[in-house]
């Protein structure tokens, strides 16, 4: 009798528990449906509310996106064109260096990249650097050495601003890394000055119009004109050629490790992918006995 009772109880409790389980499932379903509906409604509302306000920045204020140019160092395993770096330095020296500094590039880094040792030494010696004071404590000057950094055109930021109507020409050492669009942007900016600003564009005094510059109004005027410099390798110095060369040079200045980096990357890819493939094989080999084992159960005969 007692046994029967307890059995019924157990049965009941089981029935009860099944019931709650069913309840729980239906609740979860409802909660899920409700959640989806709420999310959908919230998203719709946010989209609608977003459409009610106007975007403050127009495309023109962001600046025109530069086209993607086919740089000779674009590819995964492509180095810089060093002849282009050499011409680009020429352009920097003769054109850009009038306003822009190149603080983070030392003369010595050019050696074996675009210039020979004696060429760079000669260029460095043309500049004067502060030396140790003499015995009387008077400041002295000395000619530049390979270890010196390329000097900028201005003593300090104030002097730079004063000479450029309040605008500060940015340092060009890392400019390619510091701008969206990198090389493409620099090239587009240098070559993108129209003869006249489009109708309706009002520019502040002393500003120039360039569609690639965010806001369109840039303090730097167009500087590159055909045959502005004369390349020592005889390449015709068109505006586009100079812009391309100087951009390549600036990209090198920003990423002097570029060529070695791509070579190391190639090595890493080869070694690591082979290691991966071999490790897959070794894993399969080690697991073979475990994966191919068979467990047989023969019920004992009575």
């Amino acid at each position: 009798m007692f046994a029967l009772k307890s059995a019924t109880k157990r049965l009941n409790s089981r029935a009860f528990s099944t019931n709650t389980a069913a309840n729980a499932t239906s609740f979860a379903k409802k909660a899920f449906t409700g959640g989806v509906a709420a999310t959908g409604l919230a998203a719709s509302y946010l989209l609608y509310a977003d459409g009610q306000t106007a975007e403050a920045m127009t495309a023109a204020e962001h600046g025109l996106h530069p086209p993607a140019y086919g740089w000779s160092h674009n590819g995964m395993f492509d180095t810089f064109d060093h002849a282009s770096i050499r011409r680009g330095f020429h352009v920097y020296r003769e054109v850009c260096a009038a306003c822009h500094s190149l603080d983070r590039v030392a003369w010595r880094t050019l050696v074996g990249v675009s210039h020979t040792n004696s060429e760079v030494k000669e260029m460095a010696e043309a500049f004067e650097y502060d030396d140790e004071p003499d015995d009387q404590g008077n400041p002295k000057k000395r000619p530049g050495k390979l270890a010196d950094y390329i000097p900028g055109p201005y003593e300090n930021e104030q002097a730079a601003r004063a000479a450029n109507q309040g605008a500060l020409p940015p340092d060009l050492s890392l400019i390619v890394k510091a701008r969206h669009g990198a090389c493409d942007y620099i090239f587009a900016l240098l070559t993108g000055y129209p003869d006249e600003p489009p109708a309706g564009v009002v520019l502040p005094v002393g500003a120039n119009y360039n569609p690639y510059f965010p806001g369109g109004s840039i303090a730097m005027g167009r500087v590159l004109f055909d045959d502005l410099v004369e390349y020592d390798d005889g390449t015709p110095a068109s505006t586009a050629q100079m812009a391309k060369d100087v951009t390549t040079f600036l990209n090198w200045a920003a990423e002097p490790e570029h060529d070695d980096r791509k070579k190391d990357g190639l090595k890493a890819i080869i070694v690591l992918s082979s290691l991966y493939l071999i490790s897959v094989w070794v894993k399969k080999f080690k697991w073979a006995p475990i994966k191919s084992r068979k467990i047989v159960f023969n019920p004992p005969k009575k």
Binding site: A106, R108, T109, E132, K145, L146, A147, V271, L272, S274, L275, I278, S279, W281, V282, F285, K286, A288, P289, S292, K294, V296, N298, P300
Partner: protein, 219 residues
């Protein structure tokens, strides 16, 4: 290891096939022999006869290449870390000083800064060279031939730091016609060797070389 396991399975299954389904062999121990375990048929996994040596060679080749590539990778990683401890390019570029010798007339001293230390360069006259060579080495506190101190006898290059307490000696003075340290009165001769006073050693000669007859590179 695993290849051995495979091999034992292979052998066992051959035996088991030979003995039919009655064989109860996975190992040769008597305990398992007594068990009623029926070894299943592993025929599908067994390599055809004779392929063992070849497959083992391949296995060792794969495992060996795995180790080889890992070793090479580990080696370059360690090397990369060690390389961070060596001098960087800008330090190396500053570590040498170039001196144009044409600007130094005979019988004159020039002091250049090298790694923050003064370096004495003297263009010695032939009398001075003769004088430096005439000294009896055995009488010196720190015996050294003049030829050991100057690669080119015309040019004496040494660190201008008194070996006593690190003052900078004064040139063309002292009792021996060389350098004199005003701090505690050490006298150095025309080869920079200590002759009198408290200093224990000769003036130190830094590493230097003549890139060409007109250019001296210290460092």
């Amino acid at each position: 290891m695993a290849s051995l396991a495979l091999r034992s399975i292979a052998r066992n299954s051959l035996v088991s096939r030979a003995l039919g389904s009655q064989a109860r062999l996975l190992s040769s121990s008597t305990l398992t022999k007594k068990s009623n375990y029926n070894t299943p048929d592993f025929g599908d996994y067994i390599k055809p006869n004779g392929a063992n040596e070849k497959s083992r060679a391949f296995t060792y080749f794969m495992v060996g290449s795995f180790g080889l590539l890992s070793t090479a990778g580990a080696k370059s990683t360690v090397e990369a870390f060690l390389q961070t401890m060596s001098a960087s390019a800008d330090v190396l570029a500053m570590a040498k000083v170039e001196v144009k010798l044409a600007a130094i007339p005979e019988g004159k001293n020039v002091i250049v800064k090298w790694q923050g230390k003064p370096v004495f360069i003297r263009h010695r006259t032939s009398e001075e060279i003769a004088e430096a060579n005439a000294v009896d080495i055995s009488s010196l506190r720190d015996p050294q031939q003049d030829a050991d101190r100057a690669k080119n006898p015309e040019w004496l290059v040494m660190l201008g730091i008194c070996t006593h307490l690190g003052c900078v000696p004064i040139g063309e003075s002292g009792d021996f016609g060389g350098w004199f340290c005003p701090c505690h009165g050490s006298h150095y001769d025309i080869s920079g060797r200590i002759r009198k006073g408290p200093a224990p050693l000769n003036l130190e000669v830094p590493e230097y070389e003549f890139a060409d007859p007109e250019t001296l590179i210290v460092g």
